[in-house]
Symmetry: C2
Subunit: 333 residues, 2 copies
């Protein structure tokens, strides 16, 4: 137990759950819900009689490294990736529930900055959404599981399975920046044993820095999810694992083939195809639909052929995205 | 990587996320939702325009030990504790989202049995509720974060803060069994180093066995939550941390004092007061309300005095429940 008087030296293990919770709630936006934090459960508005719900977890090790991610970054990213899943249904995020499991020696200011990041991501990416509940527990492994809820505001959900031959495939948001940023981190900021080391931002050029920031604090175009739905998107998902893997998933769900024009992916096309974590919105629209502002065409949908995904006309056979169960080994990082 | 042909020897690290997910989904109840598992998010019915939402996490170490809990137990308990939080608002559970973080060497049958436990708890405790979404990730620490959603079916939520002087305090469900069961586990099934060892059920008498089972697979009276709400409960919560701590929380939220008659708690009154995890429903009712079947009076509400909680007339000064941040040390268990 710490006996320090300096608030920066207080550890969560020195405090009761209630005391930690009070410090977190003080950083969050006021509740906009019928019943916000503090009871056994929250009660949230679901104005059209449905609620969109998703959960995603960030785990220290496979999903982030504390040498690279600040607590603010972690709060931001854990919110952003879940807001993107709500937006990818064509819905507007309304609330987050945050399950935070952390070691007893976690500094209290770390938790407060994490709460700041959660709030900032909601305020900037999904105004009106707020943390409305959560759970604190002890773990040897810092883990942040965020549930995001949202409303379709009377519209139909946009599924992965609705793409039809002739549709245009379009993308909104970054393509490859987060993956390029991860590559910069792995190549430049590891010591001889391969362990992450602090990021020297002043050693990075502007492009590298932008990509590292896209990796640590992704900015998915959340507001464009409902816009795409209202414009008639036939299928949509967020690109969490790279365009190759996620477009393949859309093609399989829709029983079509998807042709991607890699030149349309811009300067980081290689990273965009194989690397994930931008949480851009990948959508299909009827070819006679004017794409909503923010979306750019990157391909089209064909009748199902032998391969679900064609990149510049060739069946895609590269490395398809990031699968935590296949790609991560806690021993080697 | 395992190369075994025996399915029992397959580890989750040998499989893709999609393959593990398919094995889990095969064990779960069919989705009853407008959009169930498989897309970026689920779409769930919220028929009265509101949704009740809560999250709670079980972490290996502070919350369970694999020497004592079977994977079925873990699935069951992670569902039950969250269903209880929904019921404690007076709501009917409709859906769970399950974020499962597990080591790569977790056997696939372990995950399947955990899914069986989730399903069984829903089927038996909250018919109509099902797992409608989730997330799989890798972690060195097995962690199960469950979000539970529910509907108030047009009724008002029952908060902690509504108890008024003169109300009867009533309890539905077990009182002290889970805490007594944990004590049996700690006293009887640890080796010389204090490490958990397998439970020898045949060494237990019937009462001990029932308590151990209550600890590992609690059976909160989920269906009684909406019944209590319909009967006019003025306040309600689930007893997760012991009647002393949770009744104190209700008293503080309601700005009243609560008098508990310990004799009404039955044979395990000491465990009931100080120990948690039964997830019984603690509720207040107007004194002229006939208690719904399943509830028994255990005390009453008074104007706020100096102490929020009186047990048999004495201000309660004992050990008040379990706080993970105060009570658990990963080094000593």
């Amino acid at each position: 137990m710490s006996t320090a008087d300096d608030p920066a030296e207080v550890r969560v293990g020195d405090l009761s759950e209630g005391a930690i919770l009070a410090r977190i709630l003080a950083r969050l936006a006021p509740s906009a819900a019928p019943v916000g934090p503090g009871d056994d459960a929250a009660v949230l508005a679901a104005p059209d009689g449905r609620v969109v719900a998703t959960v995603d977890t960030l785990v220290h090790g496979p999903d982030f490294r504390l040498a690279w991610s600040s607590p603010f970054d972690l709060g931001w990213k854990s919110a952003a990736v879940n807001l993107a899943d709500v937006a990818a249904m064509g819905a507007r995020p309304t609330a987050l529930l945050v399950a935070l499991a952390m070691p007893n020696d976690t500094p209290l200011p770390f938790v407060e900055r994490l709460a700041d990041g959660l709030r900032a991501a909601c305020d900037e990416l999904a105004p009106g959404a707020a943390v409305e509940g959560g759970d604190l527990t002890v773990s040897d492994t810092l883990t942040i599981a965020v549930t995001a809820l949202g409303t379709l505001d009377g519209g139909a959900p946009v599924l992965r399975s609705g793409a039809r031959a002739g549709d245009v495939v379009a993308l909104a948001g970054e393509a490859g920046a987060a993956a390029r940023g991860l590559d910069v981190l792995f190549r430049r900021f590891r010591d001889l044993a391969g362990e992450p080391t602090p990021i020297a931002f002043d050693e990075l050029d502007a492009g590298e820095r932008a990509c590292v920031e896209a990796q640590l604090r992704p900015r998915p175009p959340i507001a464009l999810g409902p816009v795409a739905a209202a414009t008639g998107a036939t299928a949509m998902m967020d690109v969490s694992d790279g365009i190759a893997l996620d477009a393949t998933r859309m093609a399989e769900a829709s029983d079509v083939s998807i042709w991607i024009d890699s030149a349309a992916l811009g300067a980081r096309r290689g990273w965009a195809v194989d690397g994930g974590e931008d949480h851009a919105l990948l959508a299909a629209f009827r070819s006679d639909t004017a794409l909503p502002p923010g979306f750019r065409a990157i391909g089209h949908v064909r009748d199902r052929g032998e391969a679900p995904l064609l990149v510049d006309g060739e069946p895609y056979e590269g490395r398809a995205g990031w699968d935590p169960y296949r790609d991560w080994d806690s021993a080697t990082g």
